[in-house]
């Protein structure tokens, strides 16, 4: 397996050098959707994962036509290189990366370290309003080879690698949500039986950049990931598992890796499915 790192990941210096490149579009995606307004990379457009990337009625993605309308309005063309970045160690940027791949965007990359590394480096943020000329974007039909649904998650028990990327306390059932959020949730605590727990954070350095390919290979090998099996990654709502999906498929080149975006919020609410508790 050879690293695809250079094709899918850019560092801050590369980003800085391409700020004025007309074929490169920077897009910020945050959990805290007000972060962009307080300052963003010059020229970057904002993608709101809640209001723009989610259907506002059905719990699902926006459909192909709405995705096309969204990217057209943002001024993103099919042949543009899209560089995604954001806060929370790029969780939601990784989610958007995976989402762009579901709809077949050819050249999409993550900014290594996201907003955090950019800020820690003391690089400039802008509050200027960004407007780009609208495009006529054409999306592909959703690629379900990288998206898992609940029945596949159930069928994966003891058959595929299930990688639960939440924190150990969420995996064990002690916490029901990441600890920056209130814990009052309706679903049960625990994890999908046979899942291994490899917190997304083990794949990242403190400054939010990804660890080296060698470190990442060792991480998943030591955790018991079976290279001969297909893999499904999940977390609570599918954003942290996008980060791990990115590591396994895009950096390490594993084939047949899916993100289960229904994740624990869905699985932990299903009636009658098996749940494992504890470490």
């Amino acid at each position: 397996m050879t690293s695809k790192r250079a094709d899918v990941l850019v560092d801050a210096d590369w980003a800085q050098e391409h700020l004025d490149d007309p074929k490169v579009v920077f897009a910020e995606v945050d959990e805290d959707v007000t972060a962009y307004d307080g300052g963003h990379i010059a020229g970057a457009v904002k993608l709101d994962w809640k209001t723009e990337l989610q259907d506002q009625v059905v719990r699902d993605f926006v459909n192909k036509e709405d995705f096309e309308a969204l990217l057209s309005a943002k001024g993103i063309g099919n042949d543009d290189t899209v560089v995604l970045y954001g806060g929370n160690n790029n969780w939601f940027a990784a989610y958007a990366y995976w989402y762009f791949k579901v709809y077949g965007h050819a050249d999409v990359r993550l900014l290594d370290g996201g907003r955090k590394k950019w800020e820690l480096d003391g690089r400039e943020l802008s509050t200027d309003t960004v407007s780009r000329e609208t495009t006529s974007y054409t999306a592909s039909n959703p690629d379900t080879s990288i998206r898992a649904f609940r029945d596949e998650a159930l069928d994966a028990i003891d058959n595929k690698n299930l990688v639960d990327v939440r924190s150990p306390d969420e995996f064990s059932g002690k916490l029901l949500a990441p600890a920056h959020l209130p814990q009052e949730q309706s679903q049960r605590g625990g994890h999908i039986p046979s899942a291994i727990n490899v917190p997304w954070s083990k794949a990242a350095n403190d400054d939010g950049t990804f660890k080296s390919d060698d470190e990442l290979r060792t991480l998943y090998a030591d955790a018991g990931l079976d290279d001969g099996r297909d893999t499904i990654a999940y977390c609570r709502i599918g954003e942290r598992s996008s980060h791990t999906w990115f590591v396994l498929r895009e950096l390490l080149g594993h084939e047949n890796v899916k993100n289960y975006d229904g994740s624990w919020t869905e699985y932990g609410s299903l009636v009658g499915v098996p749940i494992a508790k504890g470490a």
Binding site: E119, P168, D207
Partner: protein
Amino acid sequence: MCGAPSQGRAGLEAVDLTRETVIQGCVRRDGAPVAAAYVRLLDGTGEFTAEVQSSAEGQFRFFAAPGDWTVRVLSAAGRGEVSLTCDRGLNEAELVLA
């Protein structure tokens, strides 16, 4: 004391403090609050559990569980770390950057 008033229970009106374990506090350096610092919550084994950025007044808040926790701060202004044992209700953590 933080440069800004303690958050106290502000913003927690809808939170059931008999059930939630809230860890909150302020990041400061030389007595002044530090905004937009990266505040990370680590569990009893040192594993990442959550991360937030401090507010304009240097404040942060986590919703955890009873037990041992470490709060670690990473910022262009410096680093800091504090460990604490928490119970249900409000737990205050003060971070001074060096």
